[in-house]
Amino acid sequence: MTMRVHVIAAAAAISFAAAGLAATTLPRDKALAVMHDRHEGMETIGKTNKVLHRELDSATPNLGVVRQSAAQLQQLSRKASGWFAAGTGPELGKTGAKPEIWQDPKDFSAKLAAFQKAAQMFNDAARRGDLAAIKARYGDLGGTCKACHDKYRMDMHH
């Protein structure tokens, strides 16, 4: 029974994430605004992640900082559903998003959903406060970041 609920929830999450990738072409200014939001959002995720990395590496992590960062990551991960509308790839402007995102939207959406789920579980663990669980969920979360970035992110400096 719970298994089925999970499957339905996962399917819902994927279709929800995929909605953002629908092939309706945005007007240019809207598309640029999406790219801007994406860039700012991803940058904030990166910075938050660095803070977490330092905190969880330290012998005495500050739980307050971890909780705040975890909550922020979860919020941003939800917003990410709206960051990859069709037509916001490198054909429009400078971006770290590879065209492959829109060539294989199903796989991308699944990876995005995995990230959102991991961010939620990490935030839940941070709220409960068990450091071992926090570190384990943080590891899972990092795995979902890498899974997507390995395939769909390129360096913006080149």
Partner: protein, 231 residues
């Protein structure tokens, strides 16, 4: 090496037969370093960041080994054997140098390459990428701002290394055009040397094993996050 090599800046010093000039550790370090620097560039360029970090750690181990070998290795491997003052460099340029191993001018290039690589490894160890997904093992010891700064500089500093590699290759070509082959001796360890040169004094093989053990231990310590294993 066929015929009688014309020597660069050796005047007309008579040459004796092929003699040992580079010991095995020096040659192994040289070629492994060349391969790892190439691999480091490739792995960074194609986003294999985890491999890149391990390649950097391997370079750290080689540099540590070479540093130690420069004190206790064979005579041509020793820092004290080839680091000379400006007058020795001038003498070399005038053609009155009859040694083996690094000449006094080439020694500057060795020092520059060693220091440039050491700086690059140091910057890499404290770097963190902009996503916060990959970091050098010592990054947690410094602030986020310092890691970002190191990451930027790590990128730029590669140009310094590239310039030194170009200089290195150009010099080899220059000597080659003047009849002196440098690549062969770095492979075989032997070269025709001026007959009045002091022969190489080889070091014991087990001294190299001890140097390697120390280099590996220090690298392992760095990988663990240094001081008391992390911050």
């Amino acid at each position: 090496m066929q015929g009688v090599p014309r020597q660069v800046s050796h005047g007309h010093a008579p040459l004796s037969g092929k003699q040992p000039v580079w010991d095995l550790p020096v040659r192994l370090v040289h070629w492994t370093l060349a391969a790892l620097v190439a691999f480091s560039w490739w792995s960074a360029h194609y986003d294999h960041t985890d491999w890149h970090i391990w390649s950097g750690i391997a370079i750290l181990t080689l540099l540590l080994f070479r540093l130690l070998w420069g004190f206790v290795g064979s005579s041509t491997a020793r820092w004290s054997g080839f680091i000379r003052g400006p007058s020795a460099i001038l003498n070399y340029l005038r053609g009155s140098w009859y040694g083996i191993g690094h000449n006094p001018l080439g020694a500057l290039s060795v020092i520059a390459m060693f220091l440039a690589l050491a700086v690059q490894v140091g910057l890499g160890l404290i770097s963190e990428d902009e996503d916060g997904l990959y970091a050098g093992p010592l990054a947690p010891l410094v602030s986020i701002e310092r890691s970002d700064w190191a990451h930027e500089l790590h990128h730029l500093w590669f140009n310094v290394i590239l310039a030194l590699i170009v200089l290195h290759l150009a010099t080899i070509l220059f000597y080659r055009l003047r009849g002196k082959k440098l690549t062969g001796p770095m492979v075989t360890g032997k070269a025709a040397v001026p007959s009045r040169a002091q022969p190489m004094r080889p070091a014991k093989w087990w001294v190299a094993v001890i140097c390697l053990a120390i280099a590996l231990a220090v690298s392992r310590w760095v990988v663990a996050g240094a001081p008391p294993f992390g911050s």
